[in-house]
Symmetry: C2
Subunit: 458 residues, 2 copies
């Protein structure tokens, strides 16, 4: 039995490892276009600045280490087409230019996603980069070393743009961030966007919201970015906007694509084509709160999906299920942790919920304990049922608060459950009542307790 | 309508505030024996060492501040008896020695708990202290200032003893800790006890386990502690063992006492006597995992119970419920955070479960991210159903991991739920898969997936 996996980052290598463990007899081959497999793409912004110094630390396992586990990882190999009828792949060895055919009994598609460079005039100039692969980081790093840019413009105020902003500042570069919408961190409510913009301002990042980039200027190298009638001098541009799933290979093989533009899979990570599974940043999953299809390319989710796809591809059965996602995420921008789980108020409204929210700013530990810092927390609940729909946090311990709320969403808890929940308290670790409990208590004041469907024990 | 509350720490003052808010017309009086109300007792170890410098910071609100909210708080007043038939209280003003009667329409008993000083010969010597009230801290602090003790012995290796050990070390005192059982932190499994003992050792605290104190020696002041045939010189002794609920007042008034020795209440915090509610460290509640009665005196739980008791005492109805507790707790000892929720393996066995456990030591953030530190996590699940029964953690981010697991317990999640749970990942905040997910995945390997009752999506 031969298992072929197309793509060797998080989902692909996880699927390979899992299949190997479950079936020691199976042949397992991974094709990977980039020169290294199992890269932590989430670590790239920190590699740019040298916060993560050693390049090798970002590579979980190299091909030799996979070989020791009897997994063949072929890097610099591009799968050019899949013929599902004959179970044949056409592969190009990018090092030698040689093309060859391979066959599979079972296939896992883990082709990931790629950065989109928007069609802005001048985007082809030297010094304009996307950031997706370790090789992108390499290119940016050597550009920075060679030309010592004084000013950088980041296009896009999502989490990648924000992480890159912090890390370029660490290099002593003067950073501007340009966002087309009227605020950064759009996946969050406006309170969080405000805090993020304040944090950027406090670290002297120029923030330009509601601005579409018209053009990059320069001869060979980028020297300026034009928007809103002005031109900002810049020596370096990094796109933090837009990635899209790599689905062409699968689509051409007859694999059905979902409404989000990513590959459609069932709960067992099976595609519409027999003996083909898919996982990671190239697939669509379900937002468990809204019940709607979602495409959410994140490393941890890719890992979990890879485990399910690899297991089922190894057994050939519906052994494991991947239920879907909450859209939980977190990022750090300078000293501010910012996270969310579930739906924002806007997303809740879009999904047809009447949302009720409560928010507060409180301390991350007992107010009298040294080092106590503020944290903002917002809870969003469904007016009709009281069920928690989402949470957003910004500040110290945001990661903890979001993980509590994500677990609450996973357990389909309602705000009354969170008023009496028994969390861990000691002065160095929290206020006597967790910010989650405090916010749920405020939320409880916004509900009519007599209303049917709200449990009594609020 | 007159509401009287006996006891003014966490539960009592919370009940008073809640009643005031719900019913502006109600008369609300709190009797408090100690000289200050609404003390953070959990902060006392940190006040001893000066980590918390200002005494006032430990007092959430003084009587004048309560008066502004139209809540009468009478400190240095002891309620000596309750006559439930006539709804009359006999009260002693400890400042004037004057006794008087008061009446109530509704009563909340929040008499808390007290430290037990075991009947060890020499326990009456100067320099031997319990630590329960702010006034105890005051006495210990002035003893330390006056006599500059060089050596201290702490009796009891539970969380109070451990917190005191750390804080006395900060004062430059040489600390020994004596525990009667064969390990410290008995509420935890042996792996955690080992880590705590190692942390104590690393900070040069002498740890003597399996040792019962026979005698304290000295003339007026304590000079030594005898156990196991040896005598350890000491200038200061603090008991970190044993507290018991203050139930005598309620018991004499005919209030039923539960099997744990604490006051029996229903989910509405009502006692067996009409118009009498009780809350806080003096009451018994339910361990939601074992379903058994439990007495667990903790500040956060007292606060939550006080809210329910105050609400129901204000409305006179069964407005809110307090469902019970998980026994979640956390403490800090030097640089080690140690927390648990639910049942330990031993407690699970006692409660009739066949427990399956999995544990691991991993990093609190991406291994390549600067400052990554180790954390130990153990998950305990029910063999028959797969349901999570408990968790223990020690190390960096223990507070976060325990709160995730507490929320999972609150939502009655099983280990398969935790394998695919969508938690927040970014390199500064966690490894790609949370330690909770990693431990649940290890746990999944110990279950027979075909067994009924285990959900398929593991």
């Amino acid at each position: 039995m031969r298992l072929v996996i197309v793509g060797g980052v998080a989902a692909g290598t996880k699927a390979a490892s899992r299949a190997r463990r479950l079936d020691p007899e199976m042949e397992v081959t991974v094709y990977q276009e980039e020169p290294e497999p199992s890269i932590s793409e989430c670590g790239l912004p920190y590699f740019l600045s040298g916060v993560v110094g050693e390049r090798e630390r970002l590579i979980a396992r190299n091909p030799e280490q996979f070989a020791e586990k009897d997994i063949e990882v072929l890097v610099r190999h591009r799968v050019e087409s899949i013929d599902a009828a004959s179970k044949t792949l056409s592969v190009l060895d990018l090092k030698t230019g040689e093309a060859f055919y391979d066959t599979y009994d079972r296939l896992v598609v883990a082709t990931g996603a790629q950065a989109i460079l928007p069609p802005i005039p001048g985007a082809e100039l030297e010094g304009v980069f996307g950031l997706r692969f370790l090789t992108d980081s390499d290119r940016i790093k050597s550009y920075v070393e060679k030309y010592s840019p004084k000013r950088a413009a980041i296009v896009g105020g999502g989490y990648i743009g924000l992480e890159v902003a912090e890390n370029l500042c660490r290099l002593g570069i003067e950073v501007s961030l340009i966002e087309g919408q009227d605020r950064v961190a759009l996946a969050y409510g406006p309170e969080v966007s405000e805090k993020v913009e304040a944090e950027l301002g406090a670290h002297e990042v120029g923030v330009y919201t509601g601005e579409k980039v018209d053009e990059f200027t320069g001869e060979d190298h980028v020297r300026g970015v034009k928007f809103g009638g002005t031109e900002l001098p810049t020596d370096l541009v990094i796109f933090g906007v837009g990635i899209r799933p790599n689905v062409e290979l699968a689509a051409k093989a007859g694999v059905e694509i979902g409404s989000t533009g990513a590959i459609l899979v069932d709960k067992h990570m099976k595609t519409s084509v027999p003996d083909v599974w898919a996982a990671g940043d190239c697939v669509q999953t379900t937002n468990l709160t809204s019940g709607r299809p979602i495409w959410i390319p994140l490393g941890d989710t890719a890992n979990q999906m890879g485990r399910v796809a690899g297991t089922n591809a190894a057994t050939g059965e519906e052994t494991l299920e991947f239920p879907g996602t909450l859209g939980t995420g977190i990022f750090k921008v300078f000293d501010l942790g910012v996270g969310k789980t579930g739906l924002s108020e806007e997303e809740a409204a879009d999904a047809g919920f009447e949302a009720v929210s409560a928010s507060l700013s409180t301390y991350d530990r007992a107010a009298y304990y040294p080092g106590a810092q503020k944290v903002f927390l917002k809870l969003i609940a469904d007016r009709a049922t009281g069920r928690l729909l989402g949470a957003e946090a910004a500040g110290s311990s945001a990661d903890k608060l979001i993980d509590i709320c994500a677990t609450a969403l996973w357990g389909k808890l309602s705000y009354p459950d969170l008023v009496n929940i028994d969390l861990a308290y000691s002065p160095p670790y929290g206020p006597a009542l967790s910010p989650v409990i405090q916010a749920a208590t405020i939320l409880s004041g916004k509900f009519d307790h007599a209303r049917e469907g709200i449990r009594a024990f609020e």
